[in-house]
């Protein structure tokens, strides 16, 4: 994505030296050199493949109940054993991952979208809309996260939402709680970008507001939003699992990593059948740590302010 409005340089670059690498290609090259970040990316890709492609290879995707196979420990047929209804735990972890990752990612994208939009508006136009948005954000941030989610969860079960739609409502709930923090961060960035000297230069050149916003402010804001998003994906996945753990998120029989761990609440499963709740827990940990490490590498490359 080379910068918007580069019609001038694109118009006739044939005769000149090869098009100089844009900021994005240079950032990508520096990222590739960061071994730790690449390891993180590899694990993330593996987890996505594991959850989305894995089930295709598993013979047990029918989720049928095999009472004969109840609560079997890990064995050659069932690498991670079976659960109380005789279903293959490995397949369920894959399917659960699909839901958890989708909900985590989707709620992050939603809250970053809402947060950035409102934050940018508040930061760029300031005045009343800044006050309204920020006061609303303050209000939401005053109410403790978990109790708020509890109330929303309860409302959810009351409206008798069919299970398959429940996932999308959970996404909405998570982004409702997350967007104020993001809005505040983006607003701060926009306020500082607005005062930068190259924005004053744009005013001196007499550029229209539209061009100042899209050609000058946005190209500098987009990398920061990507960094904020990558650092929040992990958090979103964690909060989804917390919700499911409290039985508020996606309800069984649809599996999520969170509600699979919830099974550990009954004493026997917890003590005798760790293969039921440890694999989903470990999957969350592996995915989130990989995303955080990759996100950190991304931030070093995209965020001009040197961190390390």
């Amino acid at each position: 994505m080379s910068t918007i409005g580069s019609e001038i340089t694109k118009a006739g670059t044939a005769g000149t030296a090869p098009v100089r690498s844009s900021m994005w290609r240079q950032a990508a090259r520096r990222l590739l050199k960061n071994r730790l970040a690449m390891l993180g990316l590899a694990v993330v890709v593996f987890m996505f493949a594991f959850c989305f492609i894995g089930p295709l290879f598993s013979p047990y995707t029918d989720n049928k109940i095999h009472l004969a196979q109840m609560n079997k420990p890990p064995s050659p047929q069932h690498w991670l054993g079976t659960d109380a209804l005789g279903r293959d735990v490995l397949t369920r972890v894959m399917q659960a991952g699909r839901i958890s990752l989708t909900v985590g990612l989707a709620s992050m994208v939603l809250s970053v979208f809402i947060g950035s939009l409102l934050g940018a508006i508040a930061g760029y136009f300031r005045g009343i809309c800044d006050q309204i948005i920020m006061r609303l954000a303050d209000l939401l941030l005053t109410i403790p996260g978990l109790p708020l989610l509890f109330i929303l969860g309860a409302l959810l079960s009351d409206w008798k939402v069919p299970t398959e739609y429940r996932m999308y409502i959970v996404m909405l709930m998570l982004s409702l709680v997350n967007w104020p923090g993001l809005a505040r961060m983006v607003r701060g960035e926009v306020l500082s970008l607005r005062e930068r000297e190259f924005m004053q230069a744009a005013t001196v050149l007499g550029l229209r507001n539209r061009r100042k916003l899209f050609n000058h402010l946005l190209p500098n804001l987009v990398p920061l939003i990507i960094v904020i998003a990558s650092l929040n994906v992990g958090g979103a996945i964690l909060s989804e699992s917390v919700l499911s753990f409290f039985g508020l998120g996606v309800m069984p029989p649809t599996p999520t990593w969170g509600n699979m761990i919830d099974s550990a609440n009954n004493m026997i499963d917890f003590q005798k059948r760790p293969w039921l709740w440890i694999p989903p827990g470990f999957s969350i940990f592996a995915t989130v740590i990989a995303i955080n490490i990759f996100g950190d590498g991304l931030r070093d490359v995209l965020d001009p302010r040197p961190r390390k």
Binding site: L139, L141, P144, P147, G234, W277, F285, I291
Partner: protein, 318 residues
């Protein structure tokens, strides 16, 4: 300075009103209530009770009543426990506070040490190790690590009790009681510390790295001061400035208790109280708890602003 405080206090009161109104209406929206949910009561009895507790009145009116009482220090009557909400809070909140205070202290001490050493030895193997450990701590789902440690330390190796504040049915008092509580407290504190130390250590490390690059650190070294003095009198004091604002944000967690930890470790704190009463739809208690946390959050924010103004001479004088 005082003008700043009065303006902020006014703003705090406004926010609290808005928050309590929002919370109250949200709770009013949640389906069912203690009475209808209670199967033991006959329908007439239920109607009668609803009348007494004024549940039939419109939401705004109920809020007004609640608010009037709350301003007089009466947070209403817990239907499930048949006790005033405040006395209930008083009973359980200190258990949560004990857990949170110890773990917050440990979190801050560990984070400052790890953060500073990692920043000072930047690019060293220790720094990379610390960074990976920080990422791990930030990526662990708290309930999972709790269960995991209980499984290994309590169930398999029987080193620590799996939960509760005292051994079931023990009548220990005095020193024995204290020793027993500490024994039970160890595991939850470990988990809470792991949860907190990740992001804090990373924050302090980042702040320390920025400060070490500053000109006045170079001046301190040019003065021939011992490296220890350069680090503690000059670097740490400046690095901790931004961290001070985080102290205020710990306030809600100190008293609010952690719902997750108290559920897994069966710890008789205010968080567990909230969980059980949520199931029973015991509104007065739920409302009291949520508003209490909201108050603590807002006071926490105010506290960090004031702390920052006091700590940083550049801001203090404005």
């Amino acid at each position: 300075m005082s003008a700043f405080i009065t303006k902020r206090l006014l703003y705090t009161v406004v926010i609290l009103f808005a928050a309590s109104l929002l919370i109250f209406s949200l709770y009013a929206l949640t389906p069912g209530d203690f009475i209808t949910g209670n199967i033991k009561l006959t329908p007439e009895r239920k109607a009668e009770l609803r009348e007494i507790y004024g549940l039939n009145k419109p939401v705004l009116e109920r809020y007004a009543i609640w608010l009037k009482n709350a301003l007089h220090g009466d947070l209403g009557y817990s239907m499930a426990q048949q006790k005033p909400v405040l006395t209930l809070f008083n009973q359980y909140i200190w258990n949560s506070f004990l857990l949170a205070a110890v773990s917050t202290f440990l979190t801050w001490v560990t984070a400052v040490i790890i953060g500073c050493v990692a920043a000072y030895k930047q690019y060293s193997w220790f720094d990379t190790l610390v960074m990976v450990a920080i990422f791990a701590a930030m990526s662990l789902p708290s309930f999972f690590i709790g269960l995991f440690l209980i499984k290994i330390l309590a169930v398999d190796w029987k080193l620590l009790p799996p939960g509760g504040m005292i051994a079931t049915g023990s009548q220990a008092t005095g020193l024995a009681y204290v020793k027993e509580v500490i024994h039970h407290m160890t595991l939850p504190v470990i988990v809470m510390t792991i949860m907190g130390v990740g992001s804090l250590a990373r924050y302090i490390r980042g702040s320390m790295i920025d400060v070490i690059k500053q000109d006045y650190i170079r001046t301190a070294r040019a003065k021939g001061l011992k490296e220890r003095k350069v680090l503690f009198t000059h670097a740490l004091r400046n690095a901790m400035l931004p961290a001070i604002t985080l102290v205020g944000f710990e306030l809600p967690a100190l008293f609010g208790g952690s719902l997750i930890i108290e559920k897994i470790f069966n710890w008789p704190g205010i968080g567990q109280l909230y969980l059980t009463s949520f199931g029973l739809r015991d509104y007065p208690l739920l409302m009291g708890f949520t508003v209490l946390i909201a108050i603590l959050t807002v006071i926490g924010t105010l506290l960090s602003d004031i702390l920052y103004r006091v700590a940083d001479p550049r801001v203090r004088l404005q």
